[in-house]
């Protein structure tokens, strides 16, 4: 403990030098901007900035790139809440209740809660990163394909709790998402599936184009149809801040989201995307009145936002402790480290303590910078809502197209977004929720790949899922949840029959 304090002191000495502080600030600002643009996520931001850092010393470069990384996680919530455009896949759940709150004139509160949630999650998860990195990373490695498959099965169950609407409709949308997820090259045999000769579809349907289409574009279409019916928001200053009860309601979801996100983030692979979905489902399940979800529940913003920020720090655990990137983003960070002649892993903490502890300390500082930066900006962002819709919505569409194109520089992605926008419009007119489509699309390829990898490991023997303790344990939890849900559905129906019977 004394050692950690001593090391942290060293870290702060590094982090608080004017140059490092300046670049951390710059990174955070760029990250926030990058996160706000739909499509242009932290991945694009970091890769674009990578060459700029060539001339800098490794600590400064790393601190700045990390700033972009978690800054983008902050920024992603802004457009989700104000305009229902998810900046990246992890912000999809923030769109649902965040935008409802905006329509009820509580945009300021939602943004503030998102910022506070992100700050708490960021700060607490850095403590986790600092204290637990080496032991946790070793456990994370135990997550092979069978464990990953079991985790994703748990993720699938979450679908059932995602939406407040009819269960059949939710599941129908989830299946649609899962079907979309089967498009693309089959990783096990190299066959193209449902790509119809379009090379760009070999990697499957992108998540961001679908999310931006289903949420952002469909919202623009719906509002255009409503025409004069939608009024321009005129938020007053005192409405910008969350009320005391909103703060109180958010505290527990933030804490739960932080823990959940951190542990999901550690798992190698891209599972961190589902952290915000799982957090949302958890909050909905725990809420006294689940019907508020989807109609502007502040917990539906607080939990997922905390979870996705915390997952971002969690993802750095295997990277820094083992030199193993757990997803595309940490992989770019790894590349950045290597370019600067730093090899991550257990030797990093020994050989370059100033880099490891400097980064840790700068993450504390950076999170504070982001909070200070973002809270006053809320007033500014809210003013966007004063722009009349006839000007704002074409602009939103332009940004959607630009952002989606920027991901892969692919025109096919724009078409996917537009088709999904039209589909989202029709589905929402028919009262279908669109979030399960996105989750299905995220889960399908990951689940399929890990199940088939596991079977490749065992030469087709399904016992592999039940003989490995972590996988078996998670599947047992999944089975319990399923049985519990079935049972409660059963008893509830009996209860309902009884009440109906009584009325007759």
């Amino acid at each position: 403990m004394v050692e950690v304090a001593h090391n942290l002191l060293l870290g702060f000495q590094v982090a608080l030098t004017p140059a490092v502080l300046g670049y951390a600030f710059l990174g955070c600002v760029i990250g926030t901007l990058v996160g706000m643009l739909p499509g242009v996520g932290p991945l694009t931001g970091i890769s674009l900035l990578l060459p700029v850092t060539f001339g800098l010393n490794p600590t400064i470069a790393l601190v700045m790139l990390a700033g972009v990384y978690y800054g983008a996680m902050y920024g992603g919530s802004t457009t989700s809440i104000l305009m229902r455009i998810p900046g990246e896949a992890a912000s999809v759940m923030t769109c649902v209740d965040g935008y409802e709150l905006t329509r009820q004139g509580r945009a300021g509160a939602a943004l503030a809660i998102a910022a506070i949630g992100s700050f708490s999650a960021g700060t607490i998860s850095v403590i986790g990163l600092m204290l637990l990195a080496p032991p946790l990373a070793a456990i994370a490695l135990k997550f092979g394909p069978p464990e990953y498959a079991a985790l994703l099965v748990l993720g699938l169950l979450v679908l059932a709790f995602l939406s407040g609407g009819a269960m059949v409709k939710t599941l129908a949308m989830a299946v649609l998402g899962l079907l979309l997820g089967t498009i693309g090259i089959d990783a096990m045999s190299g066959f193209m599936r449902f790509s119809y000769g379009i090379t760009e579809l070999a990697d499957g349907v992108g998540i961001v184009p679908v999310a931006v289409g289903l949420f952002g574009v469909s919202e623009v279409l719906l509002s255009a149809r409503n025409g004069a019916g939608t009024r321009v928001q005129q938020p007053k200053l005192r409405e910008l801040l969350p009320s005391r009860s909103e703060l109180r309601d958010s505290a527990a979801p933030i804490a739960r989201g932080t823990l959940l996100g951190f542990f999901i983030g550690i798992v190698p692979g891209s599972a961190h995307v589902i952290s915000s979905f799982v957090s949302y489902a958890l909050e909905r399940r725990l809420a006294r009145d689940p019907r508020r979800f989807g109609r502007g529940a502040i917990e539906g913003v607080a939990g997922p936002e905390a979870a996705n920020n915390s997952a971002a720090s969690g993802a750095l655990v295997p990277l820094l402790a083992l030199g193993v990137p757990s997803g595309a983003l940490p992989a770019v960070m790894l590349a950045a480290l290597l370019i600067h002649g730093v090899t991550p892993g257990p030797l990093l903490i020994q050989n370059n303590p100033e880099i490891f502890w400097g980064l840790i300390a700068s993450m504390y500082v950076g999170n504070l910078v982001l909070l200070i930066l973002n809270l006053p900006m809320i007033g500014l962002f809210i003013n966007l809502l004063r722009i009349p819709f006839s000007y704002l919505y074409p602009l939103i569409l332009v940004f959607c197209v630009l952002g989606v194109y920027a991901i892969n520089q692919s025109a096919v992605d724009i078409w996917i977004m537009l088709v999904m926008g039209a589909a989202g419009y029709v589905l929402r007119k028919l009262d279908f929720e669109t979030a399960p489509i996105v989750l299905g699309l995220i889960l399908a390829p990951m689940l399929e790949l890990s199940v088939r990898q596991a079977l490749a490991m065992s030469a087709g023997d399904y016992a592999i899922f039940f003989t490995r303790p972590i996988a078996a344990g998670m599947l047992a939890i999944a089975a319990t949840i399923l049985l519990y849900a079935l049972w409660s559905a059963f008893t509830r129906r009996a209860l309902w029959r009884k009440t109906v019977g009584l009325e007759e």
Partner: protein, 326 residues
């Protein structure tokens, strides 16, 4: 009359613009260097400093653009069918010759053909290495191969994806040794490394720089490499050729232009790459990522590319379609 003169004027203008174009110095505007992979891969790590050094000699910005998709096919095809004006170039990986072959295997319309691309220069080449966990029982390739012969298709390995840069060499070894390994593909070299570290597979094929840190930290052990000469990073490591397996495999990166690019432009580019690989900044950057510069100018690169392509195509055909259950 009026009509005729207009046509004449048009023709004259066209001729003039042609003449202008021929005389137009190259380059006069920024050059796009397409990297057909997502950010962070080896091609980008080589390409970014290369582009930075080329700028110094071309006096025009060389902008890297990631165009990922279908394991590189999207970006390769993009440049293959681009205007041959020297402003859209490709920085790609050895897998460039595997993709059309895999397309043939599945009777697909190929996204591009190798005839559409003109090799400019090879920049780096790294033979792949075979790694096991440091706790693994095998101390040499012979032990591994003997074990695999005793229980074919039981020993599993992780790769970056089917027919990818880490799958093909393993299958080449299996063919040369007359045995079979169990293939578990992952989506990228990083996850393949993680799977080996976690003990979910028994060996992996990797680029030397990707595993150098793990070998140093004593978590992984190298058994052999696929190269023709000693590795800078691990001079002690035997090559498979020395050990009696006739296989050779390199992960190389090189620059390509669309096939019909005029010779004058090609020569400017060759000169720029030659200057760039000699540039101290570039050498420094490559040192840091422990990737050896193995520069080949156009004539040698063209020969190497043809021989390498033939080798890989033969391997892919021998692997054939992977059926799920055997």
């Amino acid at each position: 009359m009026l009509h005729g003169s207009r046509v004449l004027a048009g023709a004259l203008a066209a001729a003039a613009s042609c003449a202008l174009q021929a005389a137009e110095p190259y380059p006069v505007r920024p050059i796009l260097l397409v990297v057909p992979f997502p950010p962070g891969g080896v091609v980008e790590l080589v390409g970014r400093p290369l582009a930075a050094s080329m700028e110094k000699f071309l006096k025009q910005p060389v902008v890297i653009s990631n165009k990922p998709g279908a394991a590189g096919a999207v970006g390769n095809a993009f440049v293959a069918s681009a205007e041959p004006d020297g402003y859209k170039l490709l920085m790609s990986l050895s897998s460039i010759s595997v993709i059309p072959e895999a397309d043939k295997l599945f009777n697909r319309k190929p996204a591009y053909t190798l005839e559409q691309l003109l090799p400019i220069a090879r920049v780096s080449a790294d033979p792949t290495v075979l790694v096991v966990q440091s706790s693994a029982p095998w101390k040499s390739i012979k032990e591994l191969v003997d074990d695999a012969k005793a229980r074919p298709a039981q020993i599993s390995f992780s790769s970056s994806g089917i027919y990818g840069a880490l799958h093909v060499p393993a299958e080449m070894l299996a063919l040369a040794a007359g045995t079979k390994f169990r293939h578990v593909p992952f989506s990228g070299g990083g996850p393949a490394t993680t799977a080996l570290l976690g003990g979910h597979v028994q060996f992996s094929v990797q680029g030397p720089s990707a595993v150098a840190g793990h070998v140093k930290a004593n978590r992984m052990r190298l058994l052999a490499h696929w190269g023709g000469r000693k590795l800078d990073l691990f001079p002690e490591l035997p090559s498979l050729k020395e050990l009696g397996y006739d296989v050779e495999y390199y992960i190389w990166s090189g620059m390509f232009a669309p096939a019909k690019t005029p010779p004058a432009i090609v020569n400017t580019l060759r000169k720029a790459v030659a200057d760039a690989v000699a540039d101290a900044d570039f050498r420094n950057a490559m040192d840091k990522i422990s990737t050896p510069i193995q520069y080949l100018d156009q004539p040698e690169f063209t020969r190497f590319f043809a021989a390498d392509g033939k080798r890989l195509a033969a391997a892919v055909r021998k692997i054939g379609r992977v059926e799920e259950k055997k």
